[in-house]
């Protein structure tokens, strides 16, 4: 349908091309339809690898994200959880071994190897290279970038899901394969409600559950 005025037609054609371009790019890192952050994969202050810890080393999700069982927010583990291991583990084993052998060959004391990412944790806790409190540094909490973020008017609670036996991977994807955490799934209301309707019919892991589809389940 052509319009009466040629100028309007030109504008509309340009607009159409632009929108096609933008929609084509919707899976790119930067531009999205408002509210849909699927594929969001932000750079974190410390390049923590879930692939190494959860995948290779097999640490269970709830070891660190213990909040998922007890409280509404799963939470990102506080630094003292990391330090449970990293008080002793300061670098990959291979590097430490290599330094030990080199030191023995050179007949000197082995230097403590600290990988650069772990240095960031120690700095946030104001620890020096010897892992002792640094006299002049101030401890600063680590500001992680939230990947799975729902709007403020949604009161999502992890507890009923964890207690019902829903696997973390159902919503968060195969985190144990991710080097950097990425949002899998669009976290829209329809996405949540569909799963609720599904499990009311089919259960979770062959266990009968009841997931309410009341508005006040999440919105209050």
């Amino acid at each position: 349908m052509f319009l009466k005025s040629p100028i309007t037609t030109v504008f509309l054609v340009i607009g159409l091309l632009l929108s096609i371009l933008i929609f084509y790019n919707s899976y790119s890192v930067n531009y999205r339809i408002p509210g849909n952050n699927e594929g969001y994969e932000p750079v974190q202050p410390i390049a923590y690898s879930h692939r190494l810890h959860a995948g290779e080393l097999g640490i269970p999700c709830l070891s660190c994200h213990f909040g998922a069982e007890k409280s509404r927010n799963a939470g990102i583990p506080p630094a003292n959880v990391c330090m449970n291991c990293h008080k002793f583990v300061t670098a990959p084993f291979a590097n430490v071994r290599a330094e030990d052998e080199l030191a023995e060959k050179e007949k000197r004391k082995p230097q403590r190897m600290i990988s650069p990412e772990l240095k960031k944790i120690y700095a946030s806790l104001a620890l020096n290279d010897e892992l002792l409190p640094h006299p002049s540094l101030k401890p600063t909490p680590i500001a992680w970038n939230k990947v799975y973020n729902v709007p403020d008017f949604v009161y999502f609670d992890h507890r009923p899901h964890v207690n019902a036996g829903v696997q973390c991977q159902t919503c968060h994807g195969a985190v144990e394969t991710m080097e950097r955490v990425r949002q899998v799934g669009n976290l829209s209301m329809g996405w949540c409600v569909n799963c609720h309707r599904d499990v009311n019919k089919n259960g979770v892991n062959n266990k009968k559950v009841y997931a309410s589809t009341d508005c006040t389940t999440c919105h209050y």
Partner: protein, 979 residues
């Protein structure tokens, strides 16, 4: 034919001038522009940070609340409270259910005083000569000055309100012992010093008795607002309710008579209310005393009362709230005649909540006048504001060489002292108090002090060069004295830990020597007052009390239970007296009185009050406080807005200048005053301006039914027929087919109107829990108050008989909700557990739902209601959304609490049991009037209440099928007086 049409059409097309774009093109363009704008909204996702603890404390889990027991600092009653902490700070206060005195209840002031913690008007540093400074500087300056005073001969005086903590008293005594002439004087702004003085005369010991209202079958109260503001209102409400149990055949119901001039909360709940002018009080009590002894009085009602009291010997209670020693001695003698001492009045285990000594204060006043005082310390009181002739005291105080205040803010008194050493808020301090003999209440800090404040104990210790914190002082005091008064626990550490955990400790009462009632005390009573023309009564409001909480917007906006007026004080006057002076509602009147030969005047708006005694006017204390000029900006800013208080002015007027000394006590009654109408008008904002449920006679025929809102009956009728007073039940057909299915829970609520006193603690509890904003006086005047629960009160006045009914109203969560059917976007729908849910993010602000609600319980956010003070945001509950402009809100039955309880129960694998979910209103109610529960659970307390014959639903005939029901209001009176 078609030819003709074709030609006509063509011609029309030619003749229409082409104005640029035509309609269809315009729509196409705007549609596409809209789509373009939408796409332009595409953006990078907003970056939210998640910042965990560095080292997580073991007991804190983000998202979960921790609870600590401590003591309320709202007034002297020291009720036990539990604070709900989130992120290291308290956000909600609830009553402590195991506390022996307050038994889980909490009044409006207790609920609201958490807001006083997050107040930017609180001093953050000590102040010396008007400038903020450091503690070191203050300590060195003061220590030098104190050394100088020790060498001189001047007097050192420590003025405070009642301190019932022996740890604190010992530190003060130790501090004062370093001076040759030093004294600690206590006074209370709402003084009951006359009761203590009277007991000194009659029983040889200056004590305040512990009243037991639950043991009394007949209660006579002379101007004592014991359910509202007098001494220990939460405890008295709980006990009073124990004396009124409606249980079918095993009911008991006490008989309560209130004799008063002003209409008080207690008077509204009385079974019989006698309106009496203050100058007739003495005659009344004289007559009552002689009638009890067998005489016959000519005064109305006295003989019947005396007969009732005689029939309940040692099970009656006569109390007097007038601070006059003669009246108190008379009260003691009446109680003695009735044998009440030892049963309803306990003087062997007395109350220690109020110890103020007005005559010592009067003596101090004259000492300051004569310049004998070299150093004055003022703690937890505001004498320049609230004692007789306080302004003059303020001027005299400037001459004292050293004056130190421990106030938390720059108030009337601390503004004239040289040094302010701000104390912690009660929620930030270690403290303890002996509430009644043998019952100790402990306070622990529930957060780190927000400012650089220091507790009184530590300040005094520092000036004595003693290094001991408040915690250590209290702990050692307990180890040496309190711990030794019990023998259940042998290990002090265990005893201490249990006490801190519980918030209180019960130990042996200790010695208290009292003598037999001394008849000689009656000889000193001065003769009765002469009749006067117009008396003035000064009373504390249930929200503001003595003015300590005037800076708290929640309390300022809490409608007075009787008048429903907010944000101001005013002159209450009866209709007849108003006509006498030609005064109408909202007219500004000038009250003049001669107080100690000084003429005092104040201009205040008038309010016609039903039930008020003729020839008496009443004004509330606690207003006109410095610091309330901050409320100029409260409320939305728009072109028609009027400020709550004019720039630089205070909220209300201070009427403390009408107080005077009488026989060594502060008198709150002025026997002779005059009232004159001025030409000004002042609009008072009230949330309820209609007073009765009766239909106006000129509008309806004589046999029209009353609106079925409040059912009332008398106790006598109830005993004969348990469903007395019920409205006729209509059977109505329903248009709706099946009911909503409730397979799991079906939440409901039952409110017992006999229990509700109207104290409004539920209103503040709800406001605190659900982040409800304050809107300012102008918005209230436009009927835009935001509180989700309101307490309707209705009057009935007929000749000398006056009755009041209170009815809390919140969203009834109707099964056939009129609001649900009319929402165009389905923002309000019914959930599968019976709640009417309001989804804020879906609401577009049509307001059709509010239009349709018959109970008018929906609240609309007309504006973005700002908090006046940024720090107030720290009290917001993170479990509840803060609503934006344009969104409708209403009571949600505290859905956040329901969800939390359900999830925790599911996680623990247990079934939810009754009483686990308590909405904020139920939790704060001191009278247990509100009960929430599951209708599907036949054993729940709610189901029991619903099966009670007294249960009914408001406006049932409309067919809304609400989930909230009420229970008939039963009064122990002769006849029903329908409001």
């Amino acid at each position: 034919m078609s030819e003709y049409h074709h030609v006509k059409f063509e011609r029309e097309q030619e003749n229409i001038p082409h104005r640029g774009i035509d309609r269809r093109d315009f729509l196409k363009l705007s549609g596409f522009t809209f789509a373009g704008a939408f796409l332009a909204g595409c953006q990078a996702p907003s970056v939210d940070k998640a910042i965990p603890f560095l080292v997580k404390p073991e007991e804190v889990t983000p998202g979960l609340s921790s609870f600590y027991a401590t003591t309320c600092g709202g007034c002297n009653a020291s009720c036990g409270i539990i604070t709900k902490n989130r992120d290291g700070r308290p956000i909600k206060i609830e009553g402590n259910p195991s506390h022996p005195i307050s038994q889980g209840g909490l009044c409006a002031v207790g609920q609201a005083h958490i807001l006083g913690l997050y107040d930017s008007q609180r001093l953050k540093n000590p102040v010396l000569f008007g400038k903020e400074t450091s503690w070191e500087h203050v300590d060195t300056t003061l220590k030098t000055k104190l050394e100088e005073i020790k060498k001189g001969s001047g007097a050192v005086r420590f003025l405070s309100s009642t301190i019932s903590s022996s740890a604190q008293r010992n530190v003060i005594a130790k501090f004062l012992s370093g001076f040759s002439d030093a004294k600690h004087i206590e006074y209370d702004a709402l003084s009951v010093s006359a009761i203590l003085d009277a007991h000194e005369r009659t029983h040889g010991n200056r004590i305040l008795p512990h009243y037991h209202f639950d043991q009394a079958e007949v209660i006579v109260a002379l101007d004592a607002d014991f359910l509202g503001t007098w001494i220990s209102p939460v405890e008295f409400t709980k006990d009073y309710r124990k004396g009124k149990i409606l249980n079918g055949n095993s009911s008991k119901f006490s008989f309560h008579v209130q004799v008063e001039a002003n209409v008080s909360l207690t008077g509204s709940n009385a079974d019989m209310r006698i309106s009496l002018s203050p100058n007739a009080y003495k005659n009344f009590f004289h007559a009552l005393a002689s009638s009890i002894e067998g005489g016959n009085s000519s005064l109305p009602n006295v003989n019947e009362l005396a007969a009732k009291l005689r029939s309940a010997k040692s099970k009656s209670l006569v109390v007097c709230g007038v601070n006059d020693i003669d009246l108190q001695v008379l009260t003691n003698s009446i109680n003695h005649l009735l044998g009440n001492y030892g049963s309803t009045i306990d003087i062997e285990k007395p109350s220690k909540q109020y110890r103020g000594n007005d005559s010592e204060l009067e003596h101090l006043f004259s000492e300051i006048n004569d310049g004998k005082v070299s150093a004055l310390f003022v703690y937890n009181c505001n004498p320049v504001y609230d004692i007789p002739n306080g302004n003059f005291l303020g001027k005299q105080m400037e001459k004292i060489p050293l004056s130190v205040s421990f106030s938390e803010r720059n108030d009337e008194t601390s503004g004239v002292t040289q040094c302010i050493c701000p104390e912690h808020h009660s929620l930030e301090s270690w403290n303890e108090s002996e509430i009644c003999a043998g019952v100790f209440s402990l306070s622990q800090p529930v957060l780190q002090p927000l400012g650089n404040t220091r507790s009184l104990t530590e300040s005094l210790n520092s000036w004595m060069n003693v290094r001991q914190t408040a915690y250590e002082t209290i702990r050692s005091e307990w180890q040496h004295s309190v711990f030794k008064r019990q023998n259940k626990e042998n290990d002090f550490q265990k005893f201490w830990d249990t006490s801190v955990h519980d918030g209180f400790a019960e130990v042996e009462a200790g010695e208290n020597i009292v003598q037999e009632f001394s008849k000689q005390s009656l000889q000193n009573i001065s003769p009765s007052n002469i009749a006067t023309d117009l008396a003035l009564v000064l009373y504390p409001k249930i929200s503001i009390r003595d003015g300590k909480h005037a800076h708290n917007p929640w309390l300022q906006e809490l409608p007075d239970p009787i008048t429903k007026i907010v944000w101001d004080n005013y002159v209450s006057i009866s209709k007849k007296t108003a006509e006498r002076f030609g005064i109408g509602e909202n007219d500004v009147v000038e009250i003049t009185a001669h107080i100690s030969s000084v003429k005092r005047m104040v201009k205040l708006p008038a309010h016609i009050q039903q039930g008020m005694c003729d020839n008496v006017v009443a004004v509330a204390l606690g207003y006109g406080r410095k610091g309330t000029e901050r409320f100029t900006n409260i409320g939305p800013e728009w072109f028609e807005a009027e400020p709550t208080v004019k720039q630089g002015e205070f909220v209300g007027k201070n009427v403390a200048e009408f107080l005077q000394w009488a026989n060594g006590n502060i008198s709150y009654i002025v026997m002779q005053c005059s009232v004159a109408k001025t030409n000004e008008q002042y609009r008072l904002a009230a949330t309820q301006e209609y007073h009765s449920l009766q239909m106006p006679k000129h509008l309806v025929s004589s046999d029209a039914e009353r609106r079925p809102i409040i059912q009332e009956t008398t106790f006598a009728s109830y005993i004969k027929n348990n469903s007395a007073g019920s409205f006729p039940k209509h059977a109505y057909a329903s248009m709706w087919g099946e009911e909503h299915p409730y397979n799991n829970h079906h939440w409901g609520m039952a409110i017992d109107l006999t229990k509700c006193t109207g104290c409004s603690a539920c209103v503040i509890g709800c406001q605190s829990e659900n982040n409800i904003p304050c809107v300012g006086k102008d918005e209230i005047a436009r009927n835009r108050e935001m509180t989700w629960i309101r307490i309707d009160r209705y009057f009935h006045e007929e000749e000398n008989k006056f009755s009041v009914a209170f009815q809390p109203m919140m969203c009834h969560h109707c099964n056939n909700a009129p609001c649900e059917t009319v929402c165009p976007v389905l923002a309000t729908v019914h959930n599968e557990e019976g709640l009417n849910q309001q989804i804020y993010n879906r609401c577009v602000g049509t307001r059709y739902c509010s239009n349709n609600c018959p109970y008018k319980v929906r609240r609309f956010n007309w504006f973005d209601y700002e908090h006046g003070d940024e720090m107030h945001k720290l009290v917001l509950n993170p479990d509840v959304v803060v609503r934006e402009r344009g969104v409708m809100e209403k009571c949600s039955f505290c859905i956040q609490r329901i969800q939390e309880a359900k999830i925790v129960a599911k996680r623990n694998g247990v079934v939810l049991h009754d009483g686990e979910i308590q909405p904020a209103c139920q939790q704060s109610c001191p009278a247990n009037a509100i009960v929430f529960g599951d209708m599907n659970d036949t054993h729940s307390e709610l189901s029991q209440r619903m099966n009670d014959p007294r249960f009914y639903k408001a406006l049932e005939e409309i067919g809304t099928r609400p989930a909230v029901g009420y229970m008939t209001l039963v009064r122990n009176s002769d006849e029903v007086r329908n409001v």
